[in-house]
């Protein structure tokens, strides 16, 4: 009966999917401290909330198909954009890549058997689920759907009668979950690297996750305390931000963005890591400028923490303050651009194999560049004052958050899916779903740039007839996008249910450690902790070996 790692049964170690721990069945999953099983738990929960957020977004777009009331009334629309924001930010993009792929692959990529604190890791998932549950509770409780926007701006958030408290509590708990993941990853990277894996031999996605983890640890408590204070103000009537009691609502906005701007780097950095991981594999080239990419992650984390007030240029601020925050905002573009140039330089003269993960990674670069450059535009004071609170801003952050992080997550999913489950999806359908997503995405959000520039305000339920064409194109785009998302889910679920297994260790010809272990990985990943001798992505050096595997293929 013994199934210890040192004594394999039938000469083969069971994979983490089959490994029999202390508990059986469902309990074996929800009580497991195995980082890979926790990653799958996260994957399931996040996918559910993602579909919920997509549904809300889809309905909002449908409402905007024509001027006036179409399917939902104004109050419902307010609640929808609030919930869409809360779900997509706190339950999808922030945890997304770190919680699923970070959990699954961070220990493997650095040659460890698990994260530093496996039990705390499981705790973070429970916090996530509880937070998500309370967010759902805010929908069904009497009092009405929360309608403040995901930013909970004071004084409206202390005055409105809707379920603000459950939504605040949810965001607070989810913040905790994020902090716990962050401190776990920082400690893991510091303490658990395999022998020989020094800092500059780490795969670049580890660098990205490491930078992210620091931001999670250092920025999230601010949102925790801020939301807590809003809650206290609402329940006990303590005067902290409410101007009627001597408080300062602009101070609330500062505290809110001190977290929520760094949070966008929590969202984008891991996706950048994923793209950095995928591009050298399918270009069969060593990554261009390893140290620059690694350090630019840290630079983004550092500078990104110092630019929050650019969300508030119109809220009242000194000229000096505006100047400094405008300058710092543009400085963040430098490390981001370094990454983009390094990715394209890696592709240059590579032998590129167009696969589904690479397509998503390339779309990331394209869309992130648009989103990033329009971000620089908004950093310019004179332009920002004109386009503030228009749909230009909505287009900008969807290009970064969805076109960037969302596509990065899909790329990661297509890249690592075979390794995680030992099953392979249909590549043709994957590509078809990619093109739906890519075309649908750009069709949905690009018109928002134009109409925002022309003056269409964000968060409006109705609009002037002159914006009709743009809204119509945008709504049609959302249909194509949703079709792509559904097709992608269908493709993955079909693969999971199919009986054909793959056991090939290195399906893509990657050079990082996850491709050197079993597919799917065994419990505790490695039989013996590997000793690392070379930097990652050494394609030239290992060319002959790669050619051999390709011939076999």
């Amino acid at each position: 009966m013994s199934e210890t790692i040192t004594v394999p049964t039938n000469g083969k170690h069971p994979s983490y999917l089959e490994h029999q721990g202390k508990h059986k069945g469902l309990l074996g999953w929800i009580l497991s401290t195995d980082h890979k099983r926790i990653a799958i738990l996260y994957l399931v929960a996040i996918a559910v909330f993602f579909l919920g957020g997509v549904t809300l977004g889809f309905l909002m777009r449908l409402e905007l198909i024509a001027p006036g009331k179409t399917i939902i009334d104004a109050q419902t629309y307010n609640s929808f954009f609030t919930l869409h924001g809360v779900i997509m930010i706190f339950l999808f993009v922030v945890p997304g890549i770190p919680a699923i792929f970070g959990n699954f692959f961070l220990p493997i990529l650095i040659g460890a058997k698990d994260v530093a604190f496996p039990r705390i890791n499981l705790l973070s998932w429970y916090l996530y689920v509880i937070g998500g549950f309370i967010a759902l509770l805010s929908i069904v409780l009497p009092g009405g759907l929360v309608d403040t926007g995901w930013t909970f701006y004071i004084p409206y958030s202390v005055r409105t009668g809707t379920n603000v408290i459950p939504a605040l509590t949810a965001a607070f708990i989810l913040g905790f979950s994020s902090i716990v993941t962050g401190l776990n990853f920082v400690t893991t990277v510091h303490r658990m690297r395999a022998p020989g894996m020094d800092w500059f031999k780490m795969p670049l996605s580890v660098w990205a996750l490491y930078s992210t983890a620091w931001v999670q640890v250092l920025a999230t408590p601010i949102i925790g305390i801020t939301l807590l204070l809003v809650g206290i103000e609402r329940i006990f009537g303590v005067g902290l931000f409410d101007p009627a009691l001597g408080g300062d609502p602009v101070l609330y906005q500062h505290l809110f963005w001190i977290y929520s701007h760094p949070a966008v780097y929590i969202m984008i950095l891991p996706a950048m890591g994923v793209v950095t991981e995928i591009i050298p594999v399918f270009a069969r080239r060593t990554i261009f400028g390893y140290k620059f990419i690694a350090m630019s992650s840290m630079a983004i984390a550092l500078f990104g923490s110092l630019v929050w007030a650019h969300h508030m240029f119109t809220a009242g601020m000194s000229n000096t303050g505006q100047f400094i925050f405008s300058l710092l905002t543009m400085v963040v573009a430098i490390p981001s651009a370094i990454k983009v140039f390094n990715w394209t330089a890696t592709l240059y003269k590579g032998s590129i194999e167009i696969t589904a993960p690479l397509l998503f990674a390339l779309a990331f670069i394209f869309q992130f560049s648009i989103g990033g450059l329009t971000g620089v535009m908004q950093g310019i004071l004179s332009i920002d004052i004109m386009i503030h609170d228009t749909s230009f801003i909505v287009a900008h952050f969807h290009y970064v958050m969805f076109g960037g992080t969302g596509f990065g997550l899909f790329a990661a999913m297509h890249y690592w899916f075979p390794k995680m489950f030992g099953k392979m999806y249909n590549e043709k359908i994957a590509k078809i779903s990619f093109w739906h997503l890519f075309i649908g995405f750009n069709l949905t959000y690009f018109p928002m740039f134009i109409m925002g520039w022309l003056g269409m305000p964000r968060r409006y339920y109705d609009y002037l007839p002159e914006f009709h064409t743009y809204h119509l194109i945008s709504t049609i785009g959302s249909w194509i996008m949703v079709a792509g998302i559904l097709l992608m889910f269908y493709n993955f679920i079909k693969a999971l249910l199919s009986s054909t297994k793959i056991t090939e260790k290195n399906i893509w010809g990657g050079e990082t450690l996850e491709w050197k272990i079993e597919t799917p990985p065994i419990h505790e990943n490695f039989i013996d902790i590997p000793t690392v001798h070379e930097a990652p992505y050494e394609y030239k050096q290992n060319e002959t070996e790669t050619l051999k595997t390709q011939e076999v293929k």
Binding site: M1, S2, E3, T4, I5, T6, Q20, G21, K22, K113, D114, A116, F117, I120, I179, G182, L183, N184, V186, T187, H190, R191, M192, V217, L218, A219, T220, P221, I222, G224, I225, T226, L228, L229, I232, F236, G237, V238, G239, L240, L245, G246, G247, D248, L251, L255, I258, E524
Partner: protein, 206 residues
Amino acid sequence: MSSQENSAAHVHRDDVGARMGMWLFLFTELILFGGMFILYSVYRYKYADAFHLAAKDLNTIVGTFNTAILLTSSLTMALSITAIQRKQKSLSIFFQMLTIVLASGFMVNKYFEWTAKFHHGIYPGSETLLAKPAGEIVFFGLYYVMTGLHGLHVIIGVVLIAFMMRFTATGVIKSDSYVKLESAGLYWHLVDIIWIFLFPLFYLIT
């Protein structure tokens, strides 16, 4: 059965890592309170005179007494760690107990302080308070929130140390494995140091 063998064969112990995790957690706590210290500094700057006036309503003697209690409890906490390092198990438990007693004393004082304020009609939303100028409303708002949250941390600390006492008694914490107690100690010192900042900011600015 098999899983027990499994975990026994792969017990992963890393005291440095555990301590590092704890320090990271303490950073987050510092930043949590940091958010409130930012609020305090902004409002202090905005309502300097009102803050000065409102602070006169707080009892400096009780505040000083509580500061002394909390500082002493940090000492007893440190002593309990030294005791376990020197294999003096019951002495360590005694010092942990003493820490809990001191912490409870702090909370009892806090309770009387708050109820006295309530009797004077100074609590959030009360008519007496709302009749005061905006700066004083904000001062007392911050006073209740910051000392309240600090008090919550004291209670969490007491629960934590109570668990440590149990762990010490059952031998989970012993002379060659005391990182849990050390982490609890770090947490307790954080609670202490936050109070050291709260004390002058609320009691000594008269």
